[in-house]
Amino acid sequence: MIQFFQDAANILSEHYPFLLRGVGYTMLIALVGTLAGLLIGLATGVLRTCPLSKNVVVRWLQKIANGIIAVYVEVFRGTPMMVQAMVIYWGYAFASGGNTLPLIPSGILIVSINTGAYMAEIVRGGIISIDNGQFEGAAAVGMTHWQAMVHVILPQVLRNILPSVANEFVINIKDTSVLNVIGVTELYYFAGIIKRQTFQTFQTYLVICVIYFILTFSITRILRAIEKKLQVTDSFVICGSQSDPNAEIRVVKKPEVPND
């Protein structure tokens, strides 16, 4: 038993430069992939929830775009990321006469488009969960659909979907491990190298397991703290005047009696 922990400690002390590099690439790919995926999700979510235009041409364009997005979401959500990695990486190599994509950027690309497919659904869910009264209210004060989206809906959507985004981030930290099939030097790739050098498979994977847990656990704590910060517990009241258009409009936290 003591020997076992000694082996694990030796793995850490002898191979830490490579473990650190693996952690670096894992976090880089997971972070950039999740952010890029969120952007894809926001773009597709906004497009898909946009009401159909009265203009015939624009309406057809919207329908085509919605169709493309639906295919993208279903294909990338419905196939394993490991298979996507193989298909994209070697597919590009076949198509380009042997050139391969640089490894780290292709890792980021694969994670991004895979996450994007999930995020599209998360954002769509976030938008349709916002009460219709908010759209109507925004329209009532003369906002266009786009203005309502940017100023009223999306800020609330972002706050509401934060737990799901955090979930995706944690999943991505773990799922970057499948990128070792195309040779991306993330944490799991180095686990393979270390186990083959030391012949200590179980000890190596235990060390890797602990490192992954530290990464995901610290990320969930940080994101939970951000979530708490964004939580709204107070109610707001808009104070103004219905008769005087020049009256000052204020937003106050607690209900108070306006003295005018």
Binding site: G98, I104, G183, I193, R196, Q197, T201
Partner: protein, 290 residues
């Protein structure tokens, strides 16, 4: 009432799970002399290799396959399998690092085991119709049999952490290289090819590719690759690619050659060309000493 139903269901689930587990009664195969003595044993091999087909020659074998050699080794140590198929140099390497392991050679035609030279030899894989094939065959024919076995011996020593001062196969790097020879291998199949991370061993070559800084490849295949590149007057680049990615990499033109302990089997010959065999050895079964 609900409690009783829940308890019964839980009990049923536990029982059905227990029934799923294989009986772990392992066989002692240490005294086996022919493959008939291995009858009914649990033997495994690496997925997608000739070994996985070869083990079907064992009568009533409980065959299984695992993705790489460390997984096979772990399964053997854990007692999940009775033994696994490997090539003799690999077995020698593993048994040097693990005192409680030993191996039985499945000597061709001697123990009831049959395999062709193409099955037990390893060759350089090239894209179909590559003109380098004749040149590489010429270069390989210049390496005498003693040098080959001496080099393999040295690689086993180096892989086990022993000191070797001078390699049996050496060649001059070309002064004015005419191009680059890109070679793919797993870098995970000692002593044919492995990865050095901390200190590169004698004759090791840096692995090419993004994020691979500080990683070196060494082994029998690496030395052969270096020799071929030098004799062709070319620079050498080594790429570490998964076993299943080797042939796609060659097909796509990402690499020029596979030098990865790959046997020129008939199925592979349909997809790629092979040179003459540059090493041949026996298949063995590695087992745990009782």
């Amino acid at each position: 009432m609900k409690k009783i139903i829940a308890m019964t269901l839980a009990l049923l689930m536990v029982l059905s799970l227990a029934a799923c587990g294989n009986s772990a009664a392992s066989m002692d195969i240490s005294g086996a002399k022919t493959i008939a003595d291995l009858k009914g044993a649990k033997i495994a091999a690496q997925t997608g290799t000739f070994h996985a087909d070869a083990l079907k020659q064992i009568p009533e074998v409980q065959a299984s396959d695992l993705p790489d050699f460390t997984a096979l080794l772990e399964a053997l140590k854990a007692g999940t399998i009775d033994g696994y198929i490997a090539e003799e140099p690999t077995a020698f390497d593993v048994c040097m690092s693990n005192e409680d392991l030993a191996y039985l050679p499945l000597v061709n035609n001697d123990t009831g085991f049959t395999a062709t030279d193409a099955d037990t030899g390893i060759a350089v894989g090239l894209k179909t119709g590559n003109a380098l094939r004749e040149q590489i065959n010429e270069i390989l024919s210049q390496i005498p049999a003693e040098t080959r076995s001496e080099l393999m011996n040295q690689m086993v020593q180096i892989s086990a952490g022993k000191e070797v001062t001078k390699l049996a196969l050496e060649s001059e790097a070309p002064a004015n290289p005419t191009g680059t020879l890109k070679v793919a291998m797993e870098c995970a199949y000692a002593p044919f090819n492995w990865t050095d991370s901390s200190n590169p061993s004698l004759g090791a070559v840096p692995i090419s590719g993004e994020g691979k800084e500080g990683l070196y490849a060494n082994g029998y295949d690496v030395q052969i690759a270096k020799y071929i590149a030098n004799k062709l007057g070319m620079d050498l680049e080594i790429y570490a690619i998964e076993w299943d990615g080797l042939i796609p990499a060659l097909d796509a033109g990402t690499v020029d050659a596979i030098i990865a302990g790959m046997s020129p089997t008939a199925e592979r010959e349909e997809q790629i060309d092979f040179t003459d065999v540059y090493y041949s050895s026996n298949l063995v079964v590695i087992y745990k000493k009782k």
